[in-house]
Symmetry: C2
Subunit: 356 residues, 2 copies
């Protein structure tokens, strides 16, 4: 039985408030435990988006009542909350800036507002950026000019990882994450996935981009799922929203890479536990660990997953290695498909609730 | 009689090849002499654009035959000429990158091509960038990451000059220019100008932006006209192209600022002679100087200007100080409204012609 520290996913969408038909803090954290994660950092592009104390409190209340693993919550950077955001920093695991179009209403189009966020955001936790292509260059400039830490979400292309490599070499305070789906899927999988189910931001890239990511592992600080559940009715509907679920397949996919010697086990733990903890300045989760049956081969079936969305872009894929048990702060929290940690047992790793 | 060194304008559009009904190397360099300039650097967004040896040679042939003051010619960065551009560097005063939409077909939309230009362009002369707003941040990142010199054209807003100031403080190799029209006109002048004649890129900014530029003089390396003539028929037509003529009004406008003590005479010479020469690594024009009647007050009348376009956005404005004589390499090249230097007497400051 392989034993690893509890994994930390720095990028999940738990859809609460406002999208609980897709996922909520309970189903999402059960999916997390089933995937070997003892902590997840939840994104703010909810309904309403988490851009002020009232909306942040909505998410905190839901999480406190329902979460079955530990969590942090991101604050969203809007064009109108430059002051509020910095004041709320002690309660957030980071500031999330959406430079490019994706799911939800948050998008930073104003350069003066972006600058003001970079000027005001306190330095202890990073500014996490959805920043593709030219937008990546913009936030690398901001990090350099305003001497701030940026964490680049879901890097997906050769040119992006090249720029991040250079920025690191030049001393810019930049870290980054790559998703399993950008490491294991490419545009070539789109015909099989179908156009609606294949919708994701950043889009699936070329096989050359995928190869460039694998060749740049030393530049990649974290593997993050960007778990972004939508129902199959939505994905197969008229206007399919972008996003893949990923919490329950990430570890097995990365263990496959270890098995194929594309990645060392140390490298996996570094990117799925140690680096997320360090980058987001998370307190240690003492006595938290996971047990994995390394040789267990299983076939991904969406309907069998714990996420409320009930599907996977890896449907039908045979993966090796499956989580048997998860211990969260000394307690057995998950065993063989069953979440044992009660709702509300997950802790906010960042803060006590926002004071009323 | 005030005597100054021959002025150097690092940003003019002489419209040749392809737009000689607006201007050509002869009328444009006469306008330059009339404005006190003994050298101009010509932009590559011509028809055809100057992106390869054949098109560059077209411009060189025209300039060699017609120019009445000295000149350099920019090469345009296209998405398909990353190799050709670096090979042609010895014949160009710089590489011009159009990040944003403006007049003509050149625009750099591909991030990989932009990166390749930054990787390949030799370091001795700058990459001049039309880069507004977010695009400015992109090229500041490129300059930092690829350790290249960038020269930011026609800075027009408070936020842009703020970013350039920070980049200089952080050691990025960046210089910049501001046009007289962005220092003396704002959006508030648009009703009087009319919507067609007021079209210019970057657009006329807010009075607050104009004030921020004046308060940031120490960040501004050059005053450049961005002399961009179009005929009045075009400016008053259905789809007015963006651009103002500026060669014949720039010095008088800036002398007005000296007269009002918003600028020192040393600061004027620094930004209209010394810095353009240094930044573009131009050879000295020995025995070149201009004589100015400082007290001469004149009213701008487009029809009296030498530019073929025959209009000015400063129409009717009373300016103080007018060029009487221009000496170019020891020869009297201009006197009291008459260009005396013959066509073809202007020299290419950068190179002998591209070898056949």
């Amino acid at each position: 039985m392989l034993e690893l520290p509890g994994l930390i996913d720095p990028h999940v969408h738990l859809r609460e408030p406002g999208g609980t038909h897709k996922e909520d803090f309970e189903t999402g954290t059960i999916a997390a435990l089933a995937g070997g994660f003892t902590a997840v950092l939840a994104m703010p592009n909810t309904q309403p988006p988490l851009v002020d104390s009232a909306s942040l409190e909505l998410a905190q209340l839901a999480a406190r009542a329902k979460a079955r693993c530990d969590y942090g919550i991101f604050l969203g950077a809007g064009e109108g909350n430059t002051s509020a955001a910095s004041a709320l920093a002690p309660w957030a695991c980071g500031l999330k800036v959406y430079m490019d179009h994706t799911y939800g209403p948050l998008r930073m189009q104003s350069l003066p507002a972006l600058i003001e966020h970079f000027q005001r955001w306190p330095g202890s936790r990073p500014i996490a950026c959805h920043a593709e292509g030219h937008s990546l260059a913009v936030v690398l400039a901001m990090a350099h000019l305003f001497d701030r830490r940026v964490h680049i979400c879901h890097v997906s292309t050769a040119v992006e990882i090249q720029l991040i490599r250079l920025a690191k070499e030049r001393g810019t305070q930049v870290t980054c994450e790559v998703t399993p789906h950008h490491l294991f899927l490419s545009k070539s999988n789109l015909p099989a996935l179908g156009s609606g189910r294949g919708e994701v931001r950043p889009r699936l890239a070329t096989p050359e981009d995928v190869a460039a990511l694998w060749e740049s592992l030393e530049v990649i600080d974290c593997f993050a799922t960007d778990h972004a559940p939508h129902t199959l009715a939505e994905k197969d509907g008229e206007q399919p929203p972008p996003g893949f679920p990923g919490l329950e397949t990430a570890l097995s996919l990365m263990l496959g890479a270890v098995n194929e010697e594309r990645l060392g086990m140390d490298g996996l733990v570094l990117r799925m536990h140690t680096n997320p903890q360090r980058i987001f300045d998370l307190p240690p989760q003492r006595e938290s660990r996971i047990e994995i049956d390394e040789d267990h081969v299983w076939e991904v079936r969406g309907v069998e997953l714990h996420s409320r969305c009930g599907w996977s872009p890896f449907e039908g894929m045979k993966l090796r290695g499956r989580v048997r048990r998860v211990y969260l702060r000394g307690q057995l929290a998950y065993e063989d498909g069953q979440a044992l940690a009660p709702p509300g047992s997950g802790r906010d790793l960042i803060s006590t609730p926002v004071p009323a």
